[in-house]
C-alpha cells in the first residue's frame, strides 16, 4: 500500500521508496517485553519480509541508509482485540445481510466456522484498524449455548481466500454462553441454567466417545464424519479452548465445574462477577477476557464493576481486554478505549497496555507472532502523537507486516 502524502508530512523522514526496508523510531517505544517499560528514543528495524529484526535505543541501533523511517512520539505493538465480533457483526446491523455472528436454529453448533462468516471489507474493520488495532480474535458471538468457532487474523485481510495463510488461527476457540443469554428462547432448550449444563455435559460425553473412535480408527477406516463432534473433540483434545461467556458468579462456578469434569482448556469471557470468585479462578489457572469497561450494566451484567481488570491483576489472574459484541450502537467498541478506563479505575497503566498487546497475545496463544516488539515477530505497529490510551491522542499510523495500512484520520 502506498504511503499517503499526509503521513509523509507528519513523518518527515519517511522515504516512500517502494521495497525499502522500514524502521520505526519513537520518543517512547513500548516493546512490551520484560518489565513493560518503554525505551526512550527507541528504534525498531524491520526486514523486507515484514518481520522485526532489531529493537533498542537509537544510540545502539543505528538506522541503515535507505530505510523508510516512520517517526512518532509513541509507538507500540499493533493492538490486539482479544475478543470481538467485527467482520461478522457488520456496521449496518441488518439481519440476513451483515449479521453473521449468531445462528439460533440449534443450541449447540460448534461446527460453524468463523472463516466462512468473515467479511473483512466491512467498514468496522477499517474503523478499528485506523485506530491502531492490527489483530483481532473474532467469530461467533455470545448468545447460544454453543454458538460456533472463533478465529484470529489481522485487520488487513479483505477476503479470506486461504485460511491458513490469511489467519493466525483459522480455528481459535469454541464459543459457549451460560446463563439466560445462552438460552434457546421461545420455549426452545435450554431454558434454564441446569438444562444448559446437562446439555453441554451430554454433548461433551458424546464427543469423548467420538474422540475414542477417532483415536482408534486406522487410516483406512475413519469414523463417520461428524462436524459437530469433531469440533468438540478438538476442545477435549485441548487443541482449542472452550470460551465460556459467564457473567454471574454461579455461571462462572458452573464453567469451572465443567472444566474440572472434562479437563479442557477454559477461557472465561465477560465474567462480570469474577470479583466474587478470584481465588477459585486463580486456582483453576483460568484466564479471563474481561468485559468492556464500558459494557452496559444491565441484565446479567447488573453487578459489573469498572474495577474488574484491576482486581484480576491484583489477584494474579491472566486477563486481556476485548471489545465484545454490541447489538446496537456503538456497533463495535474499541479495545484500547476500554483498557484506558481500566486505568482510571485502578489498573496500572502498563498492565492496561499489555492487556491489549503482549498479555492479549499470551492469552490467545499467539505471543510468538504478535503483541510485542521482539526480533522475529511480525512488524505490526501503532504510532501515536501522545499517550496511546488518552482520548485526545491521535493514532497517526498503523503498520501490519511491515506495510503502512493507515494514516492519520481526523
Amino acid at each position: 500500500m502506498k504511503i499517503s502524502p499526509l503521513l509523509t508530512i507528519l513523518l518527515p523522514l519517511t522515504v516512500a521508496t517502494a521495497g525499502a526496508q522500514m524502521a520505526v523510531q519513537a520518543e517512547l517505544l513500548y516493546p512490551m517485553t520484560g518489565d513493560l517499560k518503554p525505551i526512550e528514543d527507541g528504534v525498531v528495524l524491520c526486514s523486507k519480509d515484514g518481520k522485526i529484526e532489531k529493537v533498542g535505543p537509537a544510540g545502539a541501533v543505528p538506522i541503515p541508509e535507505g530505510y523508510q523511517v516512520l517517526k512518532a512520539k509513541v509507538a507500540t505493538p499493533g493492538f490486539i482485540d482479544a475478543h470481538s465480533t467485527v467482520g461478522l457483526s457488520g456496521i449496518l446491523n441488518l439481519d440476513r445481510h451483515d449479521q453473521e455472528q449468531l445462528e439460533k436454529s440449534a443450541p449447540i453448533q460448534p461446527e460453524l466456522r468463523a472463516i466462512d462468516a468473515y467479511n473483512g471489507r466491512d467498514p468496522l474493520v477499517k474503523w478499528i484498524r485506523q485506530l491502531g488495532i492490527t489483530t483481532i480474535h473474532t467469530g461467533h458471538a455470545p448468545g447460544a449455548l454453543v454458538a460456533g468457532q472463533t478465529m484470529i487474523l489481522k485487520t488487513n485481510v479483505p477476503t479470506i481466500t486461504d485460511p491458513e495463510k490469511n489467519t493466525l488461527r483459522p480455528f481459535s476457540m469454541v464459543a459457549s454462553t451460560l446463563g439466560p443469554d445462552g438460552f434457546g428462547g421461545g420455549g426452545k432448550a435450554p431454558g434454564s441454567r441446569a438444562k444448559s449444563l446437562a446439555m453441554l455435559r451430554e454433548n461433551l460425553l458424546k464427543a469423548q466417545s467420538h474422540l475414542k473412535k477417532r483415536k482408534k480408527a486406522k487410516e483406512d477406516e475413519t469414523p463417520d464424519p461428524d462436524l459437530r463432534m469433531d469440533a468438540l473433540a478438538d476442545v477435549l483434545e485441548k487443541k482449542v479452548p472452550l470460551l465460556i461467556t459467564a457473567r454471574r458468579h454461579h455461571d462462572i462456578a458452573a464453567a469451572l465445574r465443567l472444566q474440572k469434569e472434562f479437563g479442557f482448556r477454559l477461557v472465561l469471557d465477560g465474567a462480570s462477577e469474577a470479583y466474587l470468585l478470584l481465588e477459585e479462578i486463580r486456582d483453576a489457572g483460568v484466564p479471563v477476557l474481561v468485559h468492556p469497561t464500558m459494557a452496559r450494566p444491565y441484565g446479567e451484567n447488573e453487578n459489573m464493576t469498572f474495577t474488574l481488570a484491576a482486581k484480576l491483576h491484583a489477584a494474579g489472574i491472566p486477563f486481556a481486554f476485548q471489545s465484545g459484541y454490541e447489538g446496537y450502537v456503538p456497533k463495535t467498541r474499541v479495545v484500547h478505549f476500554e483498557a484506558a478506563l481500566a486505568v482510571t479505575y485502578g489498573l496500572p497503566w502498563e498492565q492496561a497496555l499489555a492487556g491489549c498487546t503482549s498479555a492479549a497475545a499470551e492469552l490467545l496463544g499467539i505471543a510468538d507472532q504478535v503483541g510485542s516488539l521482539r526480533a522475529g515477530l511480525d512488524a505490526d505497529f501503532a504510532l501515536f502523537d501522545g499517550d496511546p490510551l488518552e482520548t485526545t491522542t491521535h493514532c497517526i499510523g498503523v503498520v501490519i507486516d511491515g506495510t503502512v495500512v493507515s494514516e492519520l484520520r481526523k
Partner: protein, 437 residues
Amino acid sequence: MFLSLRYLFPLLVLALIAVVSLGGGHETPVPIRAYVGARIIPVTSPEIADGVLLVKGETIAAVGKRGEVVIPDDAEVIDVKGKVLFPGLVCTHSHIGKVQGGDGSSPIQPDVRVLDSIDVLDSTVEKARAGGITMANLMSGSGHLLSGQTAYLKLRDGNTIEDLAVRNEDGSMAGGIKMANGTNSIKGSGGSPGTRGKSAALVRAQFLKARSYREKLAKGGDDPPERDLAMEALVEVLEGKRVVHHHTHRHDDIITVLRLKKEFGFKVVLHHVSEAWKVADEIAEAKVPCSIIYLDSPGGKLEARDLEWKNGAELEKRGVLTAFHTDDPINDSRWFLRSAGLAVRSGMSRQKALEAVTIAGAEMMDQARHTGSLTVGKKADFVILNGDPLSVYTRVLETHVEGRKVFDLDDPRDKLWAEGGFGAGHKRRASGCCFTR
C-alpha cells in the same frame, strides 16, 4: 474600572450577609462554604489556577483568585488544592429513571407527560450524579413521531419528581417535547407511518390542527374549545414555550425538521444529528442548535452509518450552538466527559467542547441564567474532579446541586454507584441487602 465587578460582587454579598445577620438573630444562618485552592474552570470566564469558589446556600457568591475573594469568617473552608472545580454537567438527552412516554396506540402523543413515569430513586439517577450530571432532560424514546412531553430535572437529592423538577416561572414543571423522524419512528403498523413522506404529513396535520385550536383559544368568548391535552401541549410548542427536542440522523431527515420548523415556527434542538457534517451550512443558516452524540464507532443502524466525530468541529466552524448528550443508556452517564475528549480529538476547540457539556445544554433547556457555568448569582451546581475534564483518567470526586453534595466518592454507597459492583443494579435504600462485597 479599578474595582472589577467580579471583585465588587462578593463585597456586596458580604454586606448583605452582615445586614441579614444583624437583623435576624434567631434564624438559621445560611451556610457559607469556601472551596479553596482548586484550579477552577468556570467555562464562561477564564480558568483560575489557584481559585476560590464561595457558595452561599444554594448560590455561587464569588469565584476568583485566592487572595482576591474575601472569605467570610463564618465560612466553612474546604481545601480542594490539586483538584479541579467545573460546572455540573448538563445532559440534554437522557433516559435515566426508567422514563417512559407514549405507548403503541398512536404515533403522535403530545398529551403524554414523561414526568408521570419517572422513578427518581432508580440507580440510573444515582449513577448520573456519580458521573457529575446535575441537570438532565429526561425523554421518552424515538419510536414515535412525537412520544411525549420531556422533563427537565435538577438531580437534587429527593424522593419525588416534584423534588427534582426544574420549574417554570409559573411554578409548572419545565420540559420540552420529544419528536423523531427517520428509521425508528417508521414502523408501518398501528397507525405509525411507513415512509418519510407520511411521517411529515402526519406531523403537519397535527400542527395545523393545533394552530386552529390556538386561534379558537385566542378568540375566547362564550364558546371556548373544550380542553384537549394534546392540543394544549402543541400550542405551547407553537408559542415557543415548549422546545422541540428532535431525534434525527440522516441529512434529508435533518432538512425535513428545518422545513417543519420554518412552516410552524417552533423552537427546536436537533438531537444526535449523525450526518450534521453533510448539511452543516443549512443547519447554521437556520440558526438551529444541535445536541450531538459521540459513539465509539459508527453504524448499528443504516442511518448512523455516516456518523462522524468531526460533527462538533464542523458545527463549531459555522457558529452553531452545540451541546453533547449521553442518550443514557447508549452512553452511560458516567462516561459523559469522554464526549468532550473525543470532540477535541476530532478538531473541536477545548473551549467549545467544555461548553458543550455544560452551558450550551443549559441554553438549549432555557436554564442558562440559572446553571451551566461557575458564575456569581447562578445556582451552585458543580463537580470536583481529580484532573482535567478532557482526560480519560479523570474521575468525579463530588457532585453538588444547588449547594448540596449529592455524590461523594468517599462515601462507600456512592462509590458503588460510581464504580459498579454487587448491588449496583439495584435501587437505593434497599433494606436487608448487600452493598458490601
